[in-house]
Subunit: 468 residues, 2 copies
Amino acid sequence: MRLEAQPFHTKQIPMQFELSKAFLEEITKAIATERNGHIRQQISDLHPADIAEILENLSLTEAHHVYRLLESESGADVLAELDEDKREKLLSSLTSREIAEEVIEKMDSDDAADVLSELPAVKQAEVMSLLNDEEQAELKDLLAYHENSAGGLMCKELIRVQLNWTVATCIREMRRQSKQVDQVYTIYVVNEANELQGRLSLKKLLFASSGTRTLVQDLYEEKVRYAHVDQSSEEVANMFEKYDLVVLPVVDGSMQLLGRITIDDVVDVIKEEADKDYQMASGISEKVESSDTVWVLSRARLPWLLIGMIGGMLGAKVIAGYEAELIEQATLAFFIPLIMAMGGNVGVQSSAIVVQGLANNSIGFDSLWRRLLKELLVSLLNGSILVGLIFGFISLFFDADYALGFTVSTSLMIIIIFAAVFGTFIPLALHRYKIDPALATGPFITTLNDVLSLAVYFIIGSLVFGMG
Amino acid sequence: MRLEAQPFHTKQIPMQFELSKAFLEEITKAIATERNGHIRQQISDLHPADIAEILENLSLTEAHHVYRLLESESGADVLAELDEDKREKLLSSLTSREIAEEVIEKMDSDDAADVLSELPAVKQAEVMSLLNDEEQAELKDLLAYHENSAGGLMCKELIRVQLNWTVATCIREMRRQSKQVDQVYTIYVVNEANELQGRLSLKKLLFASSGTRTLVQDLYEEKVRYAHVDQSSEEVANMFEKYDLVVLPVVDGSMQLLGRITIDDVVDVIKEEADKDYQMASGISEKVESSDTVWVLSRARLPWLLIGMIGGMLGAKVIAGYEAELIEQATLAFFIPLIMAMGGNVGVQSSAIVVQGLANNSIGFDSLWRRLLKELLVSLLNGSILVGLIFGFISLFFDADYALGFTVSTSLMIIIIFAAVFGTFIPLALHRYKIDPALATGPFITTLNDVLSLAVYFIIGSLVFGMG
């Protein structure tokens, strides 16, 4: 027992481990010189997430070396925290028996299912065959659910008590069950048929006098939110966000309690959703990180560039159709960049507001027509300001060429209004037909916008300069 | 007490309330005809977040009507869930006394501080003066912290026990304290000087035999992560994400336990961060929703459009400098759109990958030179493919004009490489100087890219066609 006078807090771990280059170099050196005791000492007090971060910054053989030094419990935790990419590589250097006994059996069922699903089919079957029947059945269940569903997010470990138990039985049973459960947030109450009946807070249980014959059904809370096992992870994430949940039970069609989803997995879903939309808006077609290989990075970026390229080629064809006018009136070419930039910018802005509104469920109940009308007003307002400016600019710097000023201003106004309305309409329409509205901020729509803008500009130009 | 045979789950609330247009219309009608009993009945079983959603879709007077029908406890909860915008308006229709007694006093301290900070200064002072001394002091403390710091996120309500208490005292004290705390996740252990010493899990406390003289210091866990009150909310959010936290205690420089941050507030921070980056990448300069007014929407969109416009004007000036060449060689104009689109796209892609890596803390320890080299390789790879295609396109569709093909290909390659390297360098440099790297995906950089691309294209064009 400690004395109170002791300055306890000096013994506490630092607030957060900050991986430094110096630390990494020290570990790398220790690996090269096989000073395993030193490595163990350096990482023994770290959180699995910190150790995972270290492994991600080491080469595969180095990471493997460090992984071998971990106790198997902590090794499994580290693997659960590791990047999918690195984990796959690390696992490929382990035997099926090692994976079964040192990884899968030590993990929570949701992480175990994730790891299994990443293994090649042959190895997956091998690992499965080495697990006991109960584990096999549990994991087969979990593997059957779609990755982006409540079933794909849940883990089977939870604390479950029955309505007709006394508080004393309840606590005894919980003690037994809680060995498998890292973090108990809520106790789920079921009937004898395992149908979800409600929840029991630890607080309430703690305050109940355990000596008496109080029953669970006298203490439990009937109101409980739950997810259906087939609900999409987006829906689940929205529920967590809206109701400030930390954990949510998952049931099947007949209200059987199957598992629970915890907030940490939901935070990952929220991040991934946001990242996906961001990548779409910035022209990246698959999830990449700057640490990926040159090949992966190129592949993720090429599709959008190709579409943009095709747009540029179409643009060239459009302009080529007006070669005669251009030779006559070279000034028309000066404003091609402006026309292109404006159409694209306005379109992306309009779409992005809708996409974000849909993602955040804050889109409200306005009708499509009201929405388009509003967008029209916004673009008229902004368009007028911009058109005024460009007209002034041309008057000042291009010898007050009013025909040119008129051409640029008129087409700019048309393009701004068109891009705004089009940019609002497309994501709403995509959403209606259950297609990801973020596609509207992607390459097809912006490229289409560019080409149409050019066409408008040159049609008006040829009319104004009387060469149509 | 219920009989087990009863089908309990039919009495449970539905999984999630889904606000429908029909429901809104029903409520609106009931408000118009003052059928208050009906309204109360419709919303009595709903979660505060659901009621807030309803209010957000009503007019201010309608919302005010419904708010008046809520019991004050639930009214405060609904206000806490409401959009800042709507909340401000609703509060402006309440007297200072109503705000003090029916809102602030019924709220958790973090929500109360948020609401207070949104009030006009005069009203804020009035409301403050109506609170008791303890509440005043608590709120003054919270208001002093920066909105984007751990202090700004924390609430003061938590369960705090002392090292030298017995389990029995501990439970008695907790019972008293827990009246203020909605959700107990962890019990914080302090010494007599209120210095954070560790934490005690409810589970452990529950399993400890409360009859004995067991002390808190025999049960508690010394290892506890904590945030310093001045840490930024981004750092706090990263800690929650990395370590899968649900709650985190907040201390000051001398380890005094000040409050706790819960995951629901952190989820909001994560969302806001992601939204901010997304808005930057899609050209919106402030947080807007499609339900905002035309004026707000215009204002949020105009700045980026103006910068794009200035870019377009500079582009016009650049091209005007090559008017003679254009008259001679009008085909040069055909590829202006392609040149512009490519420079912009490659730049945004490169920046976005870095911005996302920085936001997710997955940027690794590569040196700047290694990173730029990699980016160079990626752009060489993608650039070669694109340049090959454009050369083929010009050969096929533009009478195999090799001079033109050479001009477009060469400038395209230079632009792609430049944009990629520049796009990688800028966000890293901004980050280094503690400026938000997402700025790199914003209008300045993309506009600069556009103008430089045009200049490169026309310089090479004039050299090739021998008119420089």
